[in-house]
């Protein structure tokens, strides 16, 4: 009733002029055709801006790194540990930086992967939708907190606490950075893993339960094997997040250019690639070897994440294919 009167109150306008012929003239027809195709082309070109941007990123970062590669040896860059960019005879051995990045990333994953997968299982298989609606915002907020706030927490809360309670010589160390990194990687891991675990159909689960398996057995022997490519993709994406993270490692890892020895000693300071770029770029004059070397590190980072991206896409695609079939 209400909607009827509302319509009556509105002035009804005819969509087209009554006297106009419904058949289009050839010119109008051509115009429409051109409009359609030119419009499509325009939209396509605008959409291609993402491709253009990716190319520009690769081009400009590599362009600034090329002088470094022509003047210094690449093998020395990748295999030696001495990083003295401002010395009289500068040395650019980025090995300990690369190792540092991988070190905190892997340590972070050791914390984050079990927690993340368990949480994903909890969300998809164990609790009701209502409880899930409560937990989801927690994860979303964890993902939304900016990295600089995490870094702030690491420096001003976690570091002094570690120093006082655990007796570490320094509070800003690999352990601190990797704890924070793991918290930051968790939302990514959880959401991707949960998607793939949920995508495993009811049928598989019900078949397993029907055979008398417990929930633990169903999840471990049926659901996780079925969802494994999605879970791997989740881990790779979490790794990408951790390896590319800058502010937290810059603030919390201690920035000491060394490879921890013994290798399992997380209480030592390390320095990562991202932190080196962030920390050094401010004081580096343009077009100096140091400046180029930082771009070279940027290229290494870019290639690493690009590779990880391809791997994650491969696994996501295969996960999609699998669930699509079942």
């Amino acid at each position: 009733m209400i909607t009827n009167s509302a319509i009556q109150n509105q002035q009804l306008r005819p969509a087209t002029d009554k006297n106009q012929s419904l058949v289009l003239t050839p010119l109008q027809d051509l115009g429409g055709f051109l409009f359609h195709h030119l419009g499509r082309l325009l939209l396509f070109l605008i959409t291609c801006s993402s491709v253009l941007l990716v190319l520009l990123i690769f081009f400009f970062v590599i362009r600034e790194a090329i002088p470094f590669l022509t003047k210094f040896s690449l093998t020395e860059f990748l295999t030696t540990k001495s990083w003295y960019p401002e010395a009289a005879t500068p040395k650019f051995g980025a090995l300990s930086l690369i190792v540092g990045s991988l070190y905190v990333t892997i340590a972070a994953l050791i914390f984050a992967v079990p927690t993340g997968i368990l949480a994903a299982i909890f969300l998809s298989d164990i609790v009701s939708l209502k409880v899930r609606d409560f937990i989801k915002p927690v994860i979303e907020i964890l993902a939304a907190i900016p990295s600089v706030a995490y870094g702030f927490f690491a420096v001003l809360v976690l570091a002094p606490w570690m120093q006082n309670k655990w007796g570490f010589t320094t509070g800003t160390n690999a352990l601190n950075a990797s704890i924070i990194l793991s918290i930051m990687a968790l939302p990514t891991i959880i959401s991707v893993a949960e998607d793939s675990i949920s995508a495993v159909g009811r049928e598989l689960r019900e078949a397993s339960y029907g055979l008398g398996a417990t929930r633990f057995e169903t999840i471990f022997k049926v659901v996780i094997p079925a969802a494994h490519s999605g879970i791997i993709a989740a881990i790779v994406l979490g790794m990408m997040r951790a390896i590319g993270e800058t502010m937290v490692v810059w603030m919390a890892s201690g920035n000491a250019n060394q490879i921890p020895s013994p290798w399992w000693d997380l209480s030592q300071s390390v320095r990562t690639m991202t932190a080196t770029i962030a920390g050094d770029m401010g004081e580096t004059p343009k077009d100096s070897p140091h400046y180029w070397s930082l771009f070279a590190i940027g290229v290494v980072l870019l290639l690493m994440t690009f590779l990880l991206n391809i791997i994650s896409e491969y696994f996501l695609a295969s996960a999609k294919k699998k669930t699509g079939k079942s």
């Binding site: 801006s49 990716v54 990123i57 299982i121 937990i135 417990t214 991202t274 896409e313």
Partner: protein
């Protein structure tokens, strides 16, 4: 038996998965809880009269007449503190006393010259005064009470000497008497220690009460006011009452920190009552009042981040994010529209999708490098702009960074518009373009807005991309888009790690980062609510 084990593993597993989620919630609580609590102190706290003075001087806020009354009241209580310290100092600060004797001696010489005494007399009085001066100095410098007494008595013998009457030299005697009195209660061997401790105490009092009335105004703004906050005043009071010492309790053991009461340290001296007095009358000297300093969010900070708020940082963050949105919104929506409405699954679209994923995976610091190499050094100079970090370069960099987020969110929003809507429109003879503009886009708009808000929150928190493209820690307000700006994100970094001044004021450190976190949480909450409403609407409820 096996059945029980299976059941137990099952239960244990359930509990384990639950624990991981509890751990997550715990992490969130541990990270946000203390931060929010301490950050709230930047806005809600007990201020002191010093804070009100600062507000009046720097921001022209508050009631000058009231403040004057308060000032007079507090100063009447503060006077005792200064008097006690000065009194005690007479016996302790020998350097000052020696300086004083030298001054008196010089003064006397000048006086005699104008008095018109004969040469002979002049010489005699001068030599007597020199003698007195040297005796006094010997007394001041000595640690032996006997020597002091001897010298002082020697000086006081000339107390009634006619030649010295009504000249500056009489001050020698008051000095001698004062010194005699104050020395009586002091263990002279401790004088050195007292002097060191006294210096600390004077410094604490300076930080607590600000410069003494009548003293020249310090050059730095931060030194012009005493404790502006009651919690700071309490901390300083604790420092005043207790000194910390590192001692070795047992041989070959690390040093242990102990707290020593300063009142005990100065027991029996004239300074002893000071501690009780300050403790009991601190509230009268500072007049604490509960306050909500909401201007924290609009005030400029000065100097460093010692006083004031985060106004310029908020402004800079808003400028950067909104500008970035301006660039990325059309690009993102058009790309999403093309991908949903027009694209078929061909090689070009696959490349586009792959590019978007790559773009999403590029580390933020590499965006910073790209912004520096492309926007700062190449793109903006290409159009005649200055080749230096600026707001425009930073926001363009942020726009590139957030493009994949924007595209994905818009794509999802456009995709979730029910097919029947589009079909109805197409069935009425509307063209595809018209359908999109009149039907799909309006329906998808709230969903797209959710994406915009989420991108905003992402952009507001990003620090690494703007490090080299347009953020500064401290600087003037930007006058154009070609100036760099302060931002909350970079400010949070700098205030935590780089800013030595801010380390003395933790509430300001936390205040900055909490402002950033709150801004982002607000944006996210809006997005979550909006998304829930949209999905309810599309489901037809």
């Amino acid at each position: 038996m096996r059945h029980i084990i299976r059941q137990i593993t099952d239960r244990a597993f359930t509990i384990l998965t639950g624990t991981s989620v509890v751990l997550l919630a715990f992490a969130l609580l541990v990270i946000l809880g203390p931060m929010l609590w301490r950050g709230s102190k930047a806005v809600i706290f007990k201020d002191t009269v010093e804070f009100r003075k600062m507000q009046l001087d720097l921001y022209n806020r508050g009631n000058p007449a009231n403040l004057k009354v308060e000032n007079a009241e507090t100063e009447s209580f503060r006077k005792t503190v200064y008097e006690t310290i000065d009194d005690f100092k007479h016996g302790i600060d020998t350097e000052e006393l020696i300086d004083r004797t030298k001054q008196i001696y010089r003064q006397l010489g000048k006086e005699l010259r104008y008095k018109g005494v004969t040469d002979e007399e002049y010489q005699r009085i001068r030599s007597l005064a020199r003698e007195l001066r040297d005796r006094l100095q010997a007394a001041f410098e000595s640690n032996d009470k006997k020597v002091i007494k001897e010298n002082i008595n020697y000086v006081l013998r000339y107390h009634l000497d006619e030649n010295l009457a009504e000249t500056s030299a009489v001050e020698f005697f008051t000095l001698a008497e004062d010194f005699q009195q104050s020395v009586e209660n002091i263990d002279l061997n401790k004088r050195q220690q007292y002097a060191g401790s006294l210096q600390q105490i004077e410094e604490i009092i300076f930080h607590l009460l600000g410069p003494r009335p009548g003293d020249p105004l310090p050059a730095l703004t931060m030194n012009r006011y005493g404790a502006t906050r009651w919690d700071l005043a309490q901390k300083l009071l604790d420092n005043l009452l207790w000194s910390e010492k590192w001692i070795q309790k047992e041989a070959a053991q690390p040093l242990v920190k102990i707290r020593v009461s300063r009142a005990e340290e100065f027991a029996g001296t004239k300074l002893e009552p000071l501690f009780g007095y300050v403790q009991n009358n601190l509230d009268k000297m500072l007049k604490p009042e509960f306050t909500v300093y909401w201007q924290y969010f609009i005030d400029d900070s000065t100097p460093g981040h010692y006083f004031g708020g985060v106004g310029p940082e908020i402004l800079g963050t808003l400028l950067l994010t909104l500008l970035a949105m301006l660039f990325v919104f059309p690009l993102g929506v058009i790309s999403a529209a093309y991908l949903v409405e027009c694209a078929s699954d061909n090689i070009a679209v696959r490349i586009i999708r792959m590019s978007i994923n790559t773009l999403a995976g590029v580390p933020s610091i590499v965006f910073g490098l790209f912004g520096l190499a492309f926007f700062v050094l190449f793109f903006i100079p290409l159009f005649g702009g200055p080749s230096k970090p600026c707001i425009l370069a930073a926001s363009l960099t942020l726009a590139v960074l957030t493009l994949p987020v924007m595209i994905r969110a818009s794509e999802e929003a456009i995709r979730s518009v029910p097919q029947s809507y589009k079909e109805a429109s197409l069935g009425l003879g509307a063209s595809k373009f018209r359908t999109f503009m009149r039907v799909t886009f309006p329906v998808a708009l709230p969903g797209i807005l959710t994406g915009v808000i989420l991108s905003l929150s992402r952009v507001a928190g990003e620090t690494a991309p703007i490090l080299f493209t347009g953020a500064v820690a401290l600087g003037p307000l930007p006058k154009s888009l070609f100036d760099p700006t302060m931002t909350l994100s970079y400010g949070s970094y700098d205030i935590a790690v780089g800013d030595r001044l801010a380390m003395m004021v933790p509430h300001n450190q936390y205040g900055m980062v909490v402002t950033l976190v709150l801004l982002i949480l607000c944006l996210n909450t809006i997005a979550i609510v909006l998304r829930a409403r949209v999905s309810r609407k599309l489901r037809g409820q």
